[in-house]
Symmetry: C2
Subunit: 158 residues, 2 copies
DNA sequence: GCGAAGTATTTTAGGCTTGAAGTAATTCGT
DNA sequence: ACGAATTACTTCAAGCCTAAAATACTTCGC
C-alpha cells in the first residue's frame, strides 16, 4: 500500500510539516500583534509601529537619525518619514536638522513622549506576560531558543 | 547583594524575558513573511494576502462566500472586498451573486487561478522548507508544539 | 403582509508599508 | 576647485488593513 506511487509530487511529508509549522508561527505572531495593537489603540490611542519607534528612541543613548531608525526598525526610509511626522504632530518626538550635515535629521522623545512611553511600556510588558502566561518558564526558554535557531536558519538563506 | 531594592519596579525579570521572547517571535515571523512576500512578488507578481486568499479557495470544497473568507483569513469584510476585486481584475477568481440570497456572493478560483496557484504553492512550500532548513525534524516538532501552547495561551486572554 | 431586526457586503477615512523616482547636500577624484 | 558619485531623506503610486457608517436584502413577529 505505498501511496507514493499515486502522489508523485516532489513535495515530501517533511515539507508539508514545515509548511504547517510556518503557518502556525505566522498565525500566532499575528494574533498576539493584533491583540497588543488593539489594547494600545484602546488605552493610549497609539499604534504598534509608532510605539516601536518610540521604544527605539527610549533605549538609545542619544537622538537617532531617520536612517538609523530605519535600519533598527527594519523598514524603509519613506516609512520612517511618515511615522516621525505623525509623532511630531502629536508632540511626542522632536525632530532637528543636523548642524554639520544638513541632509540629515535627528529625532528624540520629547518630555511628554518620554512620560507617555514609560506608561505604555509598563502596560505593554504586563500584557505580553499575560498573553504568554500559559507557558511555564521552561516552555518559554525552549521556545525562545528554537526561535533563535529559526532566525539563524532564515538568515542563512536571506 | 539583592538588586531588587534598587529596582523597585513591578516588572519582574520573568516579564522582561517574556517580552524578549515576544520580540523574537515577532521579528522571526516578519523576517520570513517579508522574504516569502519578496519571492512571490518577484516570481509571480503576487502578494501574500492574495496568495492566502487563493489558498483558502483551493483547499475548500466548493466556492466560499466573502463572509466565510473573512472568517477564515481572520481579516475584516472590507479587506476581503478589495482583495477579491483585484483578483477578479487579474482573472484569477470568479465572483457570483448567490441566487437564493442576493445580499451574498460566492468566490472560486478560475481555471487560470487554479493553475497559477498550484505552481505558486509548489514553490512556496519549497521556499518554506529551505528557510527552516537549519532546524532538524525534532526542532521543528518541538517548535510547532510550543507554538500551539502559545496560541492556546493567547486564546485564553483574547 | 408589513415594519423591525438582523445579515452580507460595500464604502469611507485614516494609517501602515513598499519600491521607485526625485531632491538636496556632501564627499571624492582629479 | 569642480563635476561626478554618493548619501540622506522625501514624494508618489499602489496595495494592505481597520473601524465605523452606509446600503441592500432577508427574515422574524405579529
Amino acid at each position: 500500500m505505498d501511496q507514493r506511487v499515486e502522489q508523485p509530487s516532489v513535495a515530501s511529508d517533511a515539507d508539508a510539516d514545515t509548511l504547517r509549522l510556518w503557518l502556525r508561527l505566522f498565525a500566532t505572531s499575528n494574533l498576539v500583534a493584533a491583540e497588543l495593537a488593539r489594547r494600545l489603540r484602546a488605552e493610549f490611542a497609539m499604534t504598534l509601529p509608532r510605539f516601536d519607534l518610540m521604544a527605539q528612541l527610549h533605549k538609545s543613548d542619544g537622538p537617532l537619525t531617520l536612517g538609523e531608525l530605519s535600519r533598527r526598525l527594519m523598514v524603509t526610509n519613506g516609512n520612517v518619514t511618515g511615522l516621525v511626522e505623525r509623532l511630531v504632530d502629536d508632540g511626542l518626538v522632536d525632530r532637528k536638522v543636523r548642524a554639520n550635515d544638513r541632509r540629515s535629521a535627528t529625532v528624540s522623545l520629547t518630555e511628554a513622549g518620554e512620560m507617555l512611553f514609560e506608561r505604555m511600556a509598563d502596560d505593554h510588558r504586563a500584557w505580553v506576560a499575560e498573553l504568554f502566561g500559559g507557558l511555564d518558564e521552561t516552555d518559554r526558554a525552549e521556545l525562545s531558543a528554537l526561535l533563535r535557531s529559526a532566525r539563524n536558519s532564515v538568515g542563512e538563506s536571506v
